[in-house]
Amino acid sequence: MNNRMNILYVITAVFLLVLPFVYESRTLLILLTQVFIFAIFAMSYDILLGYTGIVSFGHAMFFGIGAYTIGVFMKQFEPTIPYFLLAVLVTIVLTAIVSFVLGLLTLRLKSHFYAMLTLAFSGLFLVLAEKWRTVTYGNDGFTFRIPDLFKDRTDFYLICLVTMIVVFAILRRFTSSPLGRVLQAIRENEQRTESLGYSILHYKVIASVISGVMAGLAGLLYSMSLRFVNTSVFTMDITLDALLMTIIGGVGTLVGAIIGAGLIEFAHHWLTELAKVHWIFERWIIFFGIIYILAVMFFPMGIVGTLKKIKLNRTKKEEKKAEEKIAS
């Protein structure tokens, strides 16, 4: 079964890789690029929520750090590859430090402290982005140029796709490593994990750092795709997007996060189009609210989780039938 899944992944990846060469649609390319970027972001959130059981209300903070870092480097210095690489490095270092400190401060406490502190800190970063006008140009943000390498939409599409595949592969390995398995044990039963001899604080901080760094990279790609950044990258909407994508796709499954990102981004796009027909569709957040409630009510395990369960039930039934046959 695992092999069949891998084949499916490879087919999908190849399909997406050749797509820009056989089907020329600028809108679709840009939309898919957004999907890849948000898939990285949603996967990073899933490491916290789905794999370790940590709730964060301020994941936008890491996204925003990445988005602003690349913007500032490209604007204040030069839109060249060395500065791009420097921005990547600075994003990794900054997000790692912030997630490490936040994790260390709060993850030893009851779980809601992390949720609250991340919320407070992302608020702090939002204010910083608003007030530090000389660098951030306040609320309105600023446009910037990017290195030539990334200018072509098709090339950028491919870069984002490959990054997403690499992140997916890394996180899949990470979640099925001995350490990743302990994370899942923590999600299941913190106290028991502790009494098995694992010091849970270390594990939670590691999860927090990995998740934060990945989110930062997603944010970096995001503002590069727009060649523009403003304070919206630090808002609650971004965190809610990640939450929605992981929950709809299925928490604790990395593919779920990707599928969730695809669904939300496409739905977002279609609803914006429909807004031209009727104003009600402009209030797309209402629709997302409804989808969210329906998903939690009917698919609490998300799309991937529900599919897995159906499959499991089927194999179980088959086993039972086989047993009955043997018995008779």
Binding site: L179, R181, V182, A185, E188, N189, Q191, S195, L196, G197
Partner: protein, 257 residues
């Protein structure tokens, strides 16, 4: 013989209620000690103090002559103090095999490996399967722990403790809730470990008759106090214990008087 576990005036109060009250014990290496006492006597609370789930309000705990009173449960497990829980405490959404594998992995000291695939450590799964075989759960490996029957969960709980391979085993009513047919098999497992003669075992049990032949010594807790501590025979003959177990005795002092 040099004690492996020692408590001095160990006490804990919840609000005004003192659940464990000035308990002094000293357990030699490779000793088998049973703890008995009526419901609410403080037996589980005493275990929680030894394993670090609770911190005492007074008193000290020593492990191999080293004070461990303030250590975390994690540190104590790594030192060699493992426990099982009276209220089943497993990972409900992981498979039976994975539950035990996590214990094996901890015992092997593979804690922060994040690059290799866990399947690479096949030996962990094999070890885990062996422990499951020992507690007669080897036909349930791939089942999610949540779907086990109550008695089976108890067996899983024991397998997880055994897999930790700690020098000291704290067993909190391991057979509670098991069907009558299952109990002898589990007692056999415990007997086997005892025969190995390289573990120190503390066992909480309600049913006195069941543990008398296993135990080197028995201690009786009553209202948080250590009522008696001696060989099984001494305890059987002890009048105070007899009356405590026969019921009607809720004030120890009145008997002494």
């Amino acid at each position: 013989m040099e004690p492996i576990i020692e408590t001095k005036g160990l006490s804990i109060s919840f609000g005004g209620h003192t659940a464990v009250d000035g308990v002094n014990i000293s357990v030699p290496k490779n000793h088998f000690k049973s703890i008995i006492g009526p419901n609410g006597a403080g037996k589980t609370t005493f275990f929680n103090l030894l394993s670090g789930q609770l911190l005492p309000t007074k008193g000290q705990i020593f492990f191999r002559n080293k004070e461990i009173t303030k250590m975390s449960p994690t540190e104590r497990t790594c030192l060699g103090l493992g426990r099982s829980f009276q209220i089943t405490n497993v990972f409900p959404n992981l498979t039976v095999l994975e539950n035990v594998r996590l214990a094996v992995q901890s015992q092997a000291g593979t804690r922060f490996q994040m690059l290799a695939h866990y399947k690479k450590y096949r030996i962990f799964e094999e070890k885990a399967a062996e422990w499951l075989e020992l507690v007669l759960l080897d036909n349930k490996k791939e089942i999610v722990a949540r779907n086990l029957a109550h008695g089976e969960k108890r067996k899983l709980e024991i397998a997880m403790l055994l897999a930790l391979n700690t020098e000291v085993l704290l067993l909190d009513e391991p057979t509670a809730g098991m069907s009558v047919e299952e109990v002898p098999a589990i007692l056999d497992v415990i007997r086997k470990i005892k025969r190995g003669n390289d573990r120190t075992i503390l066992l909480i049990e309600h049913k006195m008759d069941m543990i008398m032949d296993l135990s080197d010594s028995v201690m009786v807790l009553f209202n948080g106090k250590l009522l008696a501590d001696g060989t099984p025979n001494e305890i059987m003959k002890n009048e105070i214990v007899q009356s405590a177990y026969l019921g009607g005795l809720y004030d120890v002092n009145s008997v002494k008087a």
